[in-house]
Amino acid sequence: MRDRRSWHGLLLLAPALLTLGALTLYPTVWVLWLSLQRRVPIFDVHRFEGIGNYAFLATDPRFWKAAQVTVLFTIASVALEAVGGVLTALALRGQRWGSRVALSLLLLAWALPSVVTAKLFEWLYNPAVGLINFVLGGLPLNWLGDPRLALPGLILADVWRTMPFVTLLCYARLLAIPAEIYEAAQLDGAGAVATLTRVTLPLLRRILLIAVLFRTLDAVRSFDLMFVLTGGGPAGTTETLTVYAYRSLFQAVQLGLGSAVGVVVFALVMLTAWAYLRALRSEGIVA
């Protein structure tokens, strides 16, 4: 009886498992295999190379630069989103009217295609008639063309797009805090600052960690925004590992090397997830 029920259950799972097996699991194994080969179709090169691609990457300055940009982009974006997310959630929580409209205005940024976000910011950053230079009082800054400004410009666009996700999670948590807790704090004579630091922020801790986990995984693997907004330039200052992988794969047409970079991104995402889960576990947040 139990066996038959298991079979029925597996039958129900079959379409999903077959799809995931054929189009996610199988390519994952394949990409590992590809990353061990030297494949340059335009020169008809196709041979097994073992860890040759990885050995090349280990001494490839472009790879290390891209890794550095990826880490910098991830840390800066996620940190800004966490701070901004908490602040906006607190502002939303205090709102007596119009919080639904306010939430719509925020979520809009999150729901837009990232290619659209890239186009919005490309226009905002226009050196001659961009709104940002205009607001800054007519400074002739070339945001996306200046190697010092391109990465901050990219980070700002990413923060704009993804901070609302953090806001939403924190806001939902704030709404779930019972009013009695605040009344008790008030009875104990806690002022506004003490209530914030001793009551509200500790209660946000758990959800904030989860939000930061999701956002970090997204930031490490993000591709669209930098590919369309800056294309990795100027002078490689915004070239993340994902952009480097794409360029090797489909512009330099070095399938083996590009796949190896893709594998590195995959490993980085898994490593990040593992590290966070360990941290969350020691916090007693997940079992």
């Binding site: 029925h8 996610t24 990409v31 809009l108 729901a111 659209v116 226009w123 905002l124 489909f250 893709g262």
Partner: protein
């Protein structure tokens, strides 16, 4: 309820203005889409002297964008239907049947939601090319469905756990078969959760860029984000037309956020808060 003080009212108003300012990048592009060509490359003034449809007309006159809208809608609708059907069966199997290795399967599903597309884009490209699917809807539908599935299964198992299994057992006692109980008891209770999962899947497919950019080659299957990224400019960048095209690409997200916000929020929270 305490009456709101004038100071409180002022604070609420200011905060709302702050949130409106947050949407400036979008609103500025919206305004740009309606600016006459001659006023695009001058700033100040901030506001145009008149509004015009010329950019929207120019964009819709080209076959590229119209075709891309059709492609995006079609790929999005079919992806959503497939991912929801497969995901619903899978989630039902996972929550209601004694499946060996269930814990591991769920862990793989959660891990799947964090999967980086760049890692499998090269083998997928080779696979789809070998199957002769390059530059077709089917290529995008298959790739997008597989990528959306982990989130759909994850969301739906959560929502299904909230539907008490006793309801179905009671129905079985009354003589209803499992499919009947599923159709008449589980499905209606699950409807809001299904709506959330459907919206997030459609949005993912609508916004998806890397696969669409890699697996398509011509107008036949190019989606809106790809058409926008490759927007043609002959001598100078057609900012007004790009703005209009961006606004067309934003229609589904805007509708979703304004009219179906409840489901969107429920889906986002459901995906993140389950532990």
């Amino acid at each position: 309820m305490r009456p709101v003080s004038p100071l409180g009212r002022l604070r609420d108003g200011l905060v709302l203005v702050g949130f409106a300012l947050y949407a400036t990048p979008f609103l500025w592009q919206l305004l740009t889409a309606f600016k006459p060509e001659a006023e695009l490359m001058v700033l100040p003034p901030l506001l145009p002297t008149r509004l015009t449809w010329e950019h929207f007309r120019a964009v819709l006159d080209q076959s590229v964008m119209l075709r891309a809208l059709v492609n995006s809608l079609g790929v999005g609708a079919i992806t959503t239907a497939l991912a929801l059907a497969f995901g619903l069966f899978g989630a039902y199997g996972l929550t209601r049947y004694p499946i060996p290795g269930k814990g591991l399967l769920l862990l793989l599903v959660v891990g799947g939601t964090a999967f980086p597309q760049i890692a499998t884009v090269s083998p997928l490209y080779l696979l789809l090319r070998a199957l002769g699917l390059r530059d077709t809807w089917l290529a995008l539908i298959l790739a997008n469905t597989s990528f959306a599935l982990p989130l759909v299964i994850w969301l739906l198992t959560g929502f299904l756990q909230e539907v008490p299994a006793q309801l179905e057992e009671a129905a079985a006692v009354d003589g209803a078969s499992r499919p009947r109980a599923f159709r008449w008891i589980v499905l209606p209770l699950l409807a809001p959760g299904l709506a959330s999962a459907a919206l997030l899947t459609f949005l993912f497919s609508w916004n998806e860029f890397l696969f669409a950019y890699t697996f398509t080659a011509t107008e036949a299957s190019r989606t809106v984000p790809v058409a926008l990224a490759l927007f043609p400019g002959v001598f100078e960048v057609p900012w007004g037309d790009i703005a209009a095209a961006s606004m067309l690409a934003s229609v589904p997200p805007v509708v979703l956020v304004i009219m179906l916000q409840r489901y969107l929020v429920r889906g986002l929270l459901g995906g993140a808060l389950r532990e």
